[in-house]
Symmetry: C2
Subunit: 240 residues, 2 copies
DNA sequence: CCAAAAGTGTTACTATTACACCCATGC
DNA sequence: GCATGGGTGTAATAGTAACACTTTTGG
């Protein structure tokens, strides 16, 4: 019942796709793969090994694309519409990427469900790496994302909605920042993700009142203004 | 790549399990199947036909067990741990239910993921119906649910958490009530699901302020007290 | 008229919003 | 000193919680 490919046993008809969020230069970004010899873009994905739990598979896929381990991630939806993938497109894709002509009974030509995970990573630590089907793995600003293959645009949309919804609820935003950050960094991230301005003074109070920020030394920037404190996220583990 | 069973083509290695909530006698209940010739209980489930979208499959499964169509339902999680099912238990189960001895390469003996849906239905309209593996399909009070097979207890737990979380957020509770109901009915449902008392007067104001309740005629109960108004949920469709 | 349950009004409290003010830093 | 951005205080507002009061029904 499993699918032998590239030396491993994978679960048939199921893939995992990961919407990987990063934050840099006051922009929310996601990682996208560009398939070789095409201008088609997709969210990074992969398959599930017989030996893996779902989340382990997702972590492996994320590590392969970013070099990071122990990433914050969350299931957000299963995409399973009957015709969510376009097999003609898939054939062209594999032809371009691999030079192979997929036969109609190739396992990739069957119906696939995809479990959507979104991941939040520290942009500065990630090392985006293409897979064997793609010639680039790059960051794209969330508000200028081109059309993606299959239903991947809908995936990104739903992932972003979920991120927005849970940003305060689960205090997950810290996973997008480096170990230490200023209150201004934090506010910029919130404003960018929620796409609205927040009042600086109230934002500060609210964040501090949560009791999850540790105030460290001041950051001497060399700029002609008061030096801001640096903060670190403490309390409940940032992962899980 | 698909699995021929009972005359249909089903997607391999994937099932759908439905936590079906109902509300009656001030109790939140779920529907459970009792497998033939055993005392094992499970949440109703099924497989996905090649021709079906995910949600269509879930709706079909729900209709088979309740007789209802167009049910409010929502994906809540994918259960995919490697060893979430116990194959020895499955063998005993099929032996008891069907009299068959599953061979190790039977498709049911492979790893299965299960997409969890929760559904909210009108208790008074449902007609619980067992499937061919079970001799009963019955309501169980949510707070006295026996141990279920596989990871079904965890499914129920997660479904209930999700329901609680979204009860106000998405105004989904109305799907558990008949077409018309009193404010008291509504409050009892909220109190039962959230497992806490609410202030009657404030609850009323809050619900009315949402602008989604239409006040109908009074309900003459014959009781020695003021007759309550009946209400009906209006506004955004209760389904979807 | 009374008990019981439904519906409305009023006050106190708390969280959020908005903005004024003060503090530190490098030129 | 002063321009700039960081940090704190405080009043106004909105939302929630708590409870008193009035209304309706059948006995």
């Amino acid at each position: 019942m499993s699918t032998k490919t590239r030396g491993y046993d994978y679960l048939p008809g199921i893939s995992i796709d990961c919407v990987i969020f990063g934050f840099h230069d006051n922009q929310l970004k996601i990682l996208l793969l560009n398939f070789k010899n095409t201008d088609w873009l997709a969210v990074p994905g992969g398959f599930i090994k017989e030996s893996e739990n779902l989340e382990e598979a997702a972590q492996r896929i994320l590590e392969e694309r970013t070099g990071l381990t122990n990433i914050y991630l969350e299931q957000f939806y299963v995409f399973g519409d009957r015709d969510r993938r376009d097999n003609e497109m898939l054939k062209s894709l594999m032809k371009a990427v691999d030079g192979v002509e997929l036969s109609p009974d190739h396992y990739l030509m069957t119906r696939f469900l995809s479990i959507g995970y979104y991941a939040l990573i520290d942009f500065t630590k990630a090392n985006p790496t293409p897979d064997y089907t793609s010639d680039s793995c790059q960051w794209y600003d969330i508000d200028t994302i081109p059309t993606l293959i299959y239903d991947h645009s809908a995936m990104v949309k739903k992932a972003l909605e979920t991120l927005r919804f849970f940003l305060d609820e689960k205090l997950i935003g810290f996973n997008l920042l480096p170990e230490v950050f200023t209150m201004n960094d934090l506010q910029n991230m919130y404003e960018t993700i929620l796409d609205k301005k927040l009042l600086r003074t109230n934002f500060q109070r609210k964040m501090l009142s949560l009791g999850i920020l540790e105030r460290l030394d001041k950051k001497m920037t060399g700029a002609a203004n008061k030096a801001p404190y640096l903060y670190r996220f403490v309390g409940k583990e940032s992962n899980v």
